[in-house]
């Protein structure tokens, strides 16, 4: 009897354990990290990832465009090469698929349920921008199969399809951004919108800017329509106040500008001879550009110097008066933490994704191609003026430069080269990825880019061809999606020199 009751007791104990088992086991959610979130918590880091993707990759691509180069000899990037087996220059890939990637859908899902069409529109606008940047950078990419559940190998789609997708997503963005009612409110979007503080009108302008780029990049194609480009530009930014500028708190390396001294990413980078030649009067008829001292720093002897890609900076010797300062404006002998910072090279400087002056230069180019030189000349001057304002050039200096021998004083004197060179200056480092698109459209033509010379020799694997694309991210694709790459010829050592669809007729 006694035994029996003990036995029953133990059975009862077992029963009690399992009866409450469901509750007991329901602890598989992370109490410290959410698994869902609202748009206002997801949008800020997405914006930061836009800046991160561009700036990480500009570090390498800036050498292709000769915005800057390292002070060292034979750096492969300076020679239009790449580092094999490395994720270097693969940051846009990372943000397009992962750090921005599906986070866009999180915003869309949450905001759709709450009828926050402004969030939906902003999210799609960013996705359109991201597809555009990623394909312009890598060429063929994963599009249709992206983010498909239970898929581990991915086919690539043509650049033409990605271009069409940009338009499709941008149109969805515009459709949503144009909606009002429901949960749409400037105060609501403003909670997460570090860039436009919830202003839908500016987001609409941004999406039109993406469409302007999309249409303008096809300038070598028969389907190219300057009117379409000008149409998008006109619906885009109206002044510098509309610039898509991502702010940096700049308190430490996590929230500081990638180009700022705290991040210490640019210690070995110097302006190239080419950019210096555009500002010091070499190219522009001996007129020194008032921006030169605002964008870069002279050597101790007062002369602005740049480096030659692939060649060692021989001035980089202690106490050499010709020693080229860092982009932060200090002597290379100073630790990064002691560097003053300058122009967009400060910890708190905004990252410029898209600007009013870029739009004006796009318009100038399109109008020029269309044959409307008056329109082109007007946009050209607006572009320079806007960038000079951004550089804080005094009005007097700006006017002096605009009316100087550096620039054409009439629409008839305007050349395509002048448009592209002024665009190059204004987008120096702050728009390198887009500058690279331009230079590839013109096949690095020195007739357009006056004074530009490709490094010689080019990197070993290039087979004497300049870079036209960046290989897909190594640790995403070369390691885990190799068979697809083999089909594309992306395993070829000179795949990065293969011309893009958009640059071809």
């Amino acid at each position: 009897m006694k035994t029996n009751s003990k036995y029953k007791f133990s059975l009862l104990a077992l029963f009690l354990v399992f009866a409450s088992c469901e509750d007991f086991l329901d602890v598989n959610f992370d109490p410290r990290n959410p698994q869902v979130a609202q748009g206002f918590a997801i949008l800020p880091p997405i914006l930061s990832q836009m800046a991160r993707g561009e700036s990480f990759d500009t570090r390498y691509i800036g050498a292709y465009t000769q915005n800057w180069c390292t002070r060292l000899a034979n750096n492969v990037w300076d020679l239009h090469g790449y580092v094999a087996g490395s994720d270097a220059a693969g940051e846009l890939w990372r943000s397009n698929y992962w750090s921005i990637g599906k986070n866009i859908d999180l915003i869309v899902d949450d905001a759709t349920a709450k009828e926050q069409w402004d969030y939906v529109g902003a999210a799609y606008g960013i996705r359109a921008w991201s597809w555009q940047s990623t394909t312009d950078y890598h060429g063929e990419i994963i599009l249709k199969q992206a983010w498909e559940p239970n898929r581990y190998v991915f086919d690539y789609d043509s650049q033409e399809e990605v271009y069409a997708e940009v338009v499709r997503v941008a149109e969805m963005a515009l459709e949503n951004l144009n909606k009002t009612g429901g949960g749409v409110a400037e105060s609501s979007l403003g909670r997460g919108d570090l860039v436009y503080k919830g202003n839908r009108e500016k987001w609409i302008k941004f999406v039109n800017g993406v469409l302007a780029r999309n249409a303008n990049h096809l300038s070598n194609k028969a389907s190219y329509s300057p009117d379409k480009v000008i149409g998008f530009v006109d619906k885009s930014f109206a002044s510098n106040a509309d610039n898509f500028a991502i702010p940096h708190a700049g308190t430490n390396s996590s929230d500081g500008n990638f180009y700022g001294p705290t991040r210490n990413n640019l210690a070995n980078f110097r302006p190239t001879k080419f950019i210096v030649s555009l500002l010091d009067g070499t190219v522009f008829n001996g007129v020194v550009d008032p921006r030169i001292g605002l964008m870069m720093t002279a050597s101790p002897d007062g002369v602005f110097r740049g480096v030659t890609p692939g060649k060692v900076d021989s001035t980089n010797v202690t106490n050499d008066p010709r020693r080229i300062p860092t982009l932060w404006g200090g002597s290379p002998a100073l630790a990064a933490s002691a560097q003053p910072g300058k122009y967009i090279f400060t910890d708190k400087a905004d990252h410029l994704i898209m600007t009013y002056w870029e739009m004006q230069f796009i318009k100038a180019e399109a109008a020029f191609k269309k044959g409307d030189k008056t329109l082109a000349f007007d946009a050209f001057r607006k572009g320079i003026s806007a960038h000079m304002d951004f550089c804080k050039v005094t009005t007097a200096n700006k006017e002096a430069y605009l009316s100087s021998a550096a620039l054409p004083q009439s629409s008839d004197a305007l050349t395509l080269s002048q448009i592209m060179l002024q665009k190059y200056i204004s987008m120096w480092v702050a728009g390198t990825i887009e500058t690279w698109v331009d230079m590839r459209r013109y096949h690095y033509d020195p007739a357009i880019y006056t004074g530009f010379t490709l490094p010689s020799p080019l990197a070993a694997g290039n087979n004497d061809k300049p870079a036209y694309r960046v290989r897909p991210r190594y640790n995403s694709e070369y390691v885990w999606n190799l068979e697809t790459l083999n089909k594309l010829g992306a395993a070829d050592l000179d795949y990065h020199t293969k011309e893009m669809w958009f640059t071809k007729p």
């Binding site: 086991l25 087996g85 750090s99 599906k102 581990y152 990064a336 999606n481």
Partner: protein, 1062 residues
């Protein structure tokens, strides 16, 4: 006679535990009592102290005193059972006698061994259908290692231990029978007195600095953080049983899939109180270093340049004074240890209170570990038939470990110019003295600056408690319940001086973290026994609960106000950041075990377990797995019983087991991770989710046999096993097209097959000399049958410490060969087959070859081309290992024991040598001035033709350092088939004879010993010591063993000390 019995007493003290073990197996009812007295002697007529005497079927028991005398109350019809380790149990019918003298006969050891198995159940070893090995605590303690587990290497077949480094407070990787999980933990479960405890290692990926990629991030491969097994006090361990396979562990559920290390702590013994004190003093010194050249100074391309960190410069002028920087940096380590315990009690209540303290200074300045360990064991007969025991253990551990690995001390010492005095690490104004004009972030710290100015400390408080009750109301029924709590709190601090390499860019940074963890667990089980004629049956049913959490909070700040003040308050508030993680997992289990023994010849057992895991989707949360075993006791057959002089014992066994493994926490729905970027917020974490996750499935077979010859003079235990794991849960890097960096996959299959042989012999034994040899042979390898999603490779990023080489598991070679076929990535079987299809491969870059295997050379430069794909270039798994333990004792007073450890085969990535080569410090770069032609063929379009162009282009490795800095591949630094023979530990011990102790009238026992560990290493490895791991055990999968980079080898140590019993 008297004197002799006293000397035997000392042995008895250590072995009396079995008294307690056996005193509860049998219960009965009491009637009129008589007092029985008597003496127990051995075959030689010597009194046996400490023999357990039990009234069969009751809890009444006693122990013989030092003269072998006992007194016990019994009833006239009772049966007395006499048990003593090493002797055959002896049963005597009381039959109303009041004087019973007994002579016990020595046992064939294998027959008598009672072994602690799953759930703390004591089993007769001969009945087990799987392989289990038991090591006495004293043997481990005598190895004089502060980490109790380290002494197990070579003593247990199938067990592999690799220390992260040889410094106090470091971690040790433990695996049993190879790799189970390709990416998750393979560390075995540690069970103390029947309940699992935390044996894990703090995962440094939880730190803010690591998550945010702060320079100086650790990835489990720089800071060597100890695993929590270091908290176990070797002096408290009565014995360790190693259950190697899932067969043995079926009752522990998923956690037992990696094997179980069962620790039984010492319990108090009834009788006169005893006090034991041991001490130990150790000196350690490092004698194994990578070699460096001193012929060429700093510079590049043959030209001197004091401002480069490389040594490709001009020859150092002869007569230039060279400093012994290695000697100036490393010091002699010292370590002292004190163990104190006292025990006693009456039959109904025994206690043992122990305390130990050690303080170890490593061979690296500023490296220190201090530990205080206090424990109380209580055992009581609470009521008739109800017995309770409790253990409370408090541990305080302080470790101070300088950063190793990349930017750590080991490489800093090697890279420091020999023409400069390393001890001058400060400028006159107290700031960091540099030897180049490079920025402070580009020049490695002087290691003395590094260890003196940077700090990495942790302090752990831990309390382990365990309470158990056993209720045995009837002789066929018992109920056991246990509850345990393992609660620890670690506070860690990392401090990087603003002038140091790591701290410079951030003007100094500090990270404090706390790791508060607990395991609450318990189990309850009932056993039923039934005997029907020759059939003996038993059934066990029970359930268990396990509730774990770890709460990790890290606080970080940078930009110091004061350069040396170690406080977060000394950092710029705008730079202060936090990271917080709370991991919770819960598991419920219900289990049953049935055993049927047929005439004690054939024994069948079956187990079944159902688990409910919190970490799986609700629909897959419950899963069942069984095991079955059969044991055939050959020598119990009548025909063998007659003839037991040669084959004294033989047993054949076979078993099969399945185990289900749940996932780590929170994986079924993707997490959002906090973002440190401007505006903060959340984005998806690296890890993809898998809402349909299933548990992993382990299937294991084992067959084996135990044999004993010549009455135990020669024993053999053989085991063959095959273990497969399917549906692996892997966080696998995939194309980012998935939307994540890592996908959570559920598939693939690994298989481990192996042999274990244990041989034990007593080649020589008489009254004066006793010689015992035990040999353990282990051979296994883990094959990759398939990887999830059919990927080429799984790799552990923590192990990617230097160059393009990392610990990987690769798909079988046929798959790789079919995928890497182009001229730019060709798989070349003679090189790449090594490691293909194994879970212990080294993945890395190799040279690009043509299909015939010639290295391709760039026609423009004469440099070899590299194959920039991670392909297998080595296999770290040894062919086999052997541990050989010799014990020699002379007149039972003087004993010498030593362990020789042999390893045959297995590859090592010598990352130190690759680093030294790429920086021009390797002695293998001394021939740099000799003309050099890369052996290979030109990649000129003819490389696949009949007559490829043989490279004849001469390169100067002196005037162009590029060959060394850029063109050497990790393939060159995989050292193949590394063997070693090492004297792992040796102990000479003298126990003062009882005649001496009698005269002193103070000591019950007194011994002195000298001991050495890691004194001798014979190896074909060119580096310091292949016995290191680049990562802590927090890195899952096969871990970082075989990656030698920046971690200190084991120093040799000499110890001496006293053991005193009062």
């Amino acid at each position: 006679m008297k004197m002799l019995s006293i000397s035997r007493n000392r042995i008895g003290i250590h072995q009396c535990l079995w008294v307690l073990v056996l005193s509860f197996l049998f219960m009965g009812t009491a009637f009129a009592q008589i007092n029985v007295t008597g003496t127990v002697k051995d075959e030689n007529g010597e009194a046996l102290p400490g023999v357990a005497i039990q009234v069969k079927g009751t809890s009444t028991g006693t122990v013989t005193d030092i003269d072998g005398m006992y007194r016990i109350s019994a009833q006239p019809q009772d049966i007395l059972i006499f048990t003593y380790v090493g002797m055959q149990p002896h049963e005597v019918n009381v039959n109303g006698q009041s004087q019973i003298d007994v002579t016990m006969t020595a046992d064939v050891e294998i027959l008598s061994e009672v072994i602690v198995t799953a759930l703390g159940i004591k089993e007769d070893r001969k009945k087990l259908s799987y392989s289990a090995q038991s090591i006495g605590g004293q043997e481990l303690q005598e190895t004089q290692r502060d980490n109790a587990v380290m002494g197990l290497q070579g003593r247990v077949a199938g067990l592999s231990l690799t220390p992260t480094s040889g410094i106090p407070g470091s971690a040790v990787n433990i695996t049993l029978r190879g790799v189970n999980s390709i990416g998750n933990s393979n560390q075995p479960l540690f069970v103390v007195d029947g309940l699992p405890i935390n044996s894990g290692t703090f995962d440094q990926h939880n730190l803010y600095s690591d998550a945010a990629g702060v320079s100086g991030n650790v990835n489990n491969n720089r800071d060597d953080i100890a695993n929590r097994v270091t908290d176990l006090n070797p002096a408290d361990i009565e014995n360790i049983t190693v259950l190697k396979g899932p067969e043995a562990a079926a009752l522990y559920g998923n956690e037992g899939a990696n094997g179980v290390i069962l620790i039984t702590t010492k319990k108090g013994k009834a009788g006169v109180g005893r006090l034991n004190y041991n001490n130990r003093f150790t000196v350690s010194s490092l004698n194994l270093f990578p070699e460096t050249q001193t012929a060429y100074g700093r510079g590049l391309n043959g030209a001197a340049d004091p401002n480069t960190a490389n040594y490709f410069g001009a020859k150092i002028p002869s007569g230039t004074p060279l400093y012994d920087n290695i000697g100036a940096f490393y010091q002699n380590g010292s370590n002292m240890r004190h163990d104190l315990s006292f025990e006693g009690g009456a039959t109904n209540l025994t206690y043992r209170l122990s305390g130990s303290y050690f303080n170890a200074n490593g061979v690296i300045p500023e490296n220190n570990q201090k530990q205080l360990n206090v424990a109380l064991n209580l055992d009581a007969n609470l009521l008739k038939n109800l017995r309770g025991s409790a253990r409370i253990n408090y541990i305080s551990n302080d470790s101070k470990i300088p950063p190793a690995g990349a930017l750590g001390y080991l490489l800093s010492v090697l890279a420091y110019p020999r023409t400069d005095d390393i001890t001058q690490y400060l400028n006159p104004d107290g700031t960091r003295r540099q030897t180049t004009s490079l920025s402070p972030a580009s020049e490695l710290d002087n290691p003395l600056f590094l260890v003196n100015k940077n700090k990495r400390t942790d302090h752990t408080n831990r309390t382990l408690t365990n309470i158990s009750f056993t209720y045995e109301p009837l002789n066929w029924f018992s109920l056991t319940a246990r509850m345990g709590a393992d609660i620890y709190s670690t506070l860690g601090n990392r401090f990087y001086h603003p002038e140091s390499v790591i701290g410079n860019a951030r003007r100094g940074w500090i990270e404090n973290y706390s790791d508060d963890g607990r395991i609450l667990n318990g189990n309850i089980f009932a056993t039923f026994k039934k005997k029907i004629s020759t059939l003996n049956g038993s059934l066990l049913v029970g359930s268990s609960v396990d509730d774990r959490q770890a709460d990790i909070n890290a606080s970080y700040g940078e930009k110091f106000y004061l350069p040396e003040f170690n406080s977060l308050n000394n950092t710029d508030p705008t730079t202060q950041r936090d990271r917080s993680n709370l991991r919770r997992t819960r598991l419920l289990g219900a289990f049953a075990k049935a055993e049927i023994s047929l005439n004690d010849i054939l024994i069948f057992n079956l187990t079944g377990r159902n688990d409910w895991s919190s970490t799986l989707p609700k629909s897959n949360r419950s899963y069942f797995y069984p095991s079955a075993g059969v044991t055939f006791l050959l020598t119990s057959l009548p025909m063998f019983k007659e003839n037991d002089r040669v084959l004294s014992f033989a047993k054949l066994r076979a078993s099969y087991a399945e185990v289900g493994n749940p996932a780590p926490a929170y994986l079924i729905q993707a997490r959002l991770a906090p973002q440190p970027s401007t505006g903060g917020g959340f984005l998806f974490d690296f890890y993809g989710d898998n809402p349909a996750l299933k548990p992993e499935k382990v299937n294991s077979y084992e067959i084996g046999g135990d044999f004993s010859f010549f009455k135990g003079r020669l024993n053999a235990d053989l085991a063959w096993f095959s273990k497969s794991i399917e549906d692996q849960i892997i966080t696998q890097r995939l194309s980012y097209g998935t939307g994540f960096i890592f996908g959570l996959l559920n598939g693939g299959e690994l298989n481990t097959k192996g042999w274990e042989i244990q041989l034990g012999g007593k080649p020589f034994r008489n009254n004066t000399i006793d010689w015992e040899i035990n040999a353990n042979f282990t051979k296994y390898s883990t094959k990759v049958i398939s990887l999830p999603a059919n990927v080429n490779e799984y790799y552990s990023s923590d192990t990617w410490v230097y160059g393009n080489a990392r610990a990987s598991a690769f798909s079988p070679s046929a798959i790789l060969a079919s995928r890497f076929t182009s001229a730019n990535n060709r798989y070349y079987a003679p090189v790449n087959d090594r490691g293909a299809g194994t879970a212990t491969a080294i993945g890395g870059y190799s040279y690009l070859r043509n299909s015939k295997g010639d290295i391709l050379v760039d026609p423009n430069t004469g440099f070899p081309l590299s194959n920039n794909n991670f392909l297998p270039i080595g296999d770290r798994n040894p062919d086999f290992t052997v541990g050989l333990v010799n014990k020699l004792s002379f007149r039972k007073n003087l004993s010498l024991s030593f362990l020789v450890d042999i390893r045959k085969g297995g590859d090592i990535f010598n990352g130190n040598e690759m680093y030294l080569t790429q920086t021009g410090l390797s002695v293998n770069t001394l021939d740099r001035e000799k003309p050099f032609v890369v052996k290979g063929v030109l990649k000129d379009g003819k490389e696949e033709s009949e007559n490829p162009t043989v490279n004849a282009r001469e390169i100067s490795r002196f005037s162009s350092s590029l060959y060394y800095t850029t063109y050497v591949q990790p393939e060159d630094f995989v050292e193949k088939d590394i063997n070693w023979l090492r004297l792992r530990d040796i102990t000479l011990k003298y126990d003062f004879p009882s005649s001496f102790l009698q005269r002193s009238r103070v000591f019950k026992s007194l011994g002195i010993f000298v001991n050495g560990t890691d004194l001798l290493l014979i190896t074909n490895y060119s580096g310091a010591d292949p016995y290191v791991s680049s990562t802590t055990p927090a890195t899952g999968g096969a871990g970082g063993f075989g990656f030698d980079y920046g971690k200190l080898s084991l120093p040799k140590t000499f110890s001496c000390g006293l053991t005193i019993g009062l």
